[in-house]
């Protein structure tokens, strides 16, 4: 239970910070802008693509129980 609370707090913090970034008119970069900056070069694109594919395979093919 403490672990779930910690993860939920972290997700809420990330969501709040994303909102603050979007309201700061470019002073602080949003997550999309950070990912956009990472993906301006081919190595960054490869890293983000691999992370995306890994997340999909991990969540939907290599983890968890059969859906109800």
């Amino acid at each position: 239970m403490p672990g779930e609370i910690a993860w939920s707090l972290l997700a809420a913090l990330a969501g709040c910070w994303e909102l603050c970034c979007r309201r700061s008119r470019g002073r602080y970069p949003s997550l999309a802008k950070v990912c956009g900056a990472i993906s301006t070069r081919l190595p960054g694109q490869i890293v983000l693509g691999v992370v995306w594919a890994f997340a999909g395979v991990h969540l939907f093919a290599r983890y968890g129980f059969a859906p109800r």
Partner: protein
């Protein structure tokens, strides 16, 4: 004119229904089965194909072998983000990595500190939530790949070769 737009609307609706149904089927496959791996492989290929609208144009202009007589002009600091404003994101990622590492040390499925996968797994136990997560994941991929290999990149390569 109206007939054409109605036909396009019908075709787009049909494609959307087929894609939603395919995502529903892919999200319903039991994990750790060959069908699950096949579904994910097909999903990655389909998302890469859907996101890369300009990929065919890029390949038609020489792909990675195309000659760049003049590099495309880039404004100074375009797309760059300085370190200090990104620091909060780095702290959030570092905290997540620390929680994940501690969860893995405790065995992954500890009741005190589960890993992110285990927490998310509770949300993915139902077919509907799994389907929504699958659609969100696919949308992220299409948006990312579409931005990297989409039409603007093809236009830039045309400028570069011209």
């Amino acid at each position: 004119m109206v007939g054409v737009s109605l036909r396009q609307l019908c075709a787009k609706s049909l494609v959307a229904v087929v894609l939603l149904a395919a995502a529903w089927a892919a999200a319903g496959v039991a994990p750790f089965t060959p069908a699950a791996y096949l579904a994910m492989f097909l999903a990655v290929v389909a998302v890469a194909f859907a996101g890369s609208k300009g990929l065919a144009s890029w390949l038609a202009h020489g792909g990675p072998l195309r000659r760049r007589a003049r590099p495309a002009p880039r404004p100074e600091h375009a797309g760059q983000v300085s370190f200090v404003p990104v620091l909060p994101w780095l702290l959030i990622v570092a905290t997540a990595a620390g929680l994940e590492a501690a969860g893995l040390v405790l065995g992954g499925r500890s009741s005190r500190l589960p890993t992110l996968s285990t927490v998310v797994d509770n949300l993915l136990a139902w077919h509907v939530t799994r389907w929504i997560a699958f659609l969100a994941w696919a949308w992220l991929g299409i948006a990312g790949i579409g931005r990297w290999w989409g039409v603007p990149d093809a236009g830039r390569s045309e400028q570069g070769t011209g």
